[in-house]
Symmetry: C2
Subunit: 202 residues, 2 copies
DNA sequence: ACACGCCCATGACAGTTGTCATCCCGGACC
DNA sequence: GGTCCGGGATGACAACTGTCATGGGCGTGT
């Protein structure tokens, strides 16, 4: 009696490699592999997956959103988030969305299978270093609009462009940016956007 | 008689997964795994690796620099670059440094082993889509100093900070930025920095 | 010797950005 | 009803940024 696992990662090589890694465990069987978050629920339902291993950074629906959809649509199916970036805000968002596990890709390869087993048994698994950091790191102080303008400011576009894409007045955009710069303790909109992103606030 | 492979990737989980993937091939043996570019040559020499599979994005020495060191220090040992980002400039730089292969992490998992075999046999392997793009994408038009200021401008720091960290006059920094903005057809320093990075010009 | 390109700098100018005060509107909460 | 907070906006001001002209020094080719 094996644990049926679904794998979601947009990088085919990494996806295949993870499948090979998990496939070496006698008690684990990879029953589905998908390359985007949108396909997760359908594939999990079709193949009867019991645990979903989800990357966050994917085109279309990201791993956190996919975990949320899985939790709503397929009760009993658990999710483990596996991601490159150990951003404090991600952990909170992932667990709130209904994920049961959270690992960063620096963790030793042997621990993935162990995490899958634990999650399958109904336990929660969170990278310990990240767990404390996310508790201490505090909450997201940004308002909805501040997040919007920061996302639009990430690539360094001028205020006029941001205002156009959000259908706001340039002056309003500058107000939100100024407020976000204050909350992130930075001095330019791009610094504020990067800091916010690194903390998982966007 | 198997092909002896060294794996370098800073993400332990991915590294282990790639090892599992390659380990499934009967004619390939993973003889070393390292987490940074600095360890590559020593580990390759110690274990008698014949092919090095190198990620570009690593702390310390990156995969391209490591491939260059391997080519200089261990003639006969070949390198395959495996990276997340298919940036046109990377291909050129990697091949110039002495790498024999270049793959992006979107490629199907089955092709990695095949690439290792080809490279071991003395052939060159380059992702076909990227090969044409890098030929057409043209060369890096930036001067050394322009690259320096763009790297320092990536996170959105104000000119005064960039000038301080490079020991240059603020006016000089603005001149280089202005020139780089022109060459990248952008309108702010951060846009220029991001465009240059995406093309592998930094 | 000369031209060329890169490095480094200064000064001036217009345009953009960050800050602040101030306003209006609509919920939510006491 | 009053207070607070978020969304949206305007106007003014100082600081920063992008552009351009102009200068000098240094190394490489012809």
């Amino acid at each position: 009696m094996t644990i049926r696992v679904l794998l979601a990662d947009d990088q085919a090589l990494v996806r295949g490699a993870l499948a090979a890694l998990l496939g070496m465990e006698p008690d684990i069987e990879v029953v589905a592999e998908v390359g985007s978050g949108d396909e997760v629920v359908a594939a999990a339902r079709r193949t009867g997956a019991e645990v979903c291993v989800l990357d966050i950074e994917m085109p279309g629906m990201d791993g956190i959103a996919a975990a949320g959809e899985v939790a709503r649509e397929l009760p009993g199916v658990r999710s483990v988030i596996v991601t490159t970036f150990g951003r404090p805000g991600y952990v909170r968002r992932a667990l709130d969305a209904g994920a049961s596990g959270f690992l960063v890709k620096d963790t030793p390869a042997t621990e993935l299978a162990e995490a899958v087993r634990r999650v399958h048994a109904g336990l929660r698994v969170v990278d310990p270093a990240l767990a404390t950091e996310s508790l201490f790191g505090g909450d997201n102080p940004l308002t909805d609009r501040e997040r919007d303008v920061l996302r639009a400011a990430l690539d360094g576009s001028p205020v006029s462009t941001i205002a156009g894409s959000l259908h706001l007045s340039p002056g309003t955009v500058r107000n939100y940016l100024s407020s976000a710069i204050g909350k992130t303790a930075t001095s330019t909109r791009v610094e504020a956007a990067r800091v916010a992103q690194q903390r998982g606030w966007l």
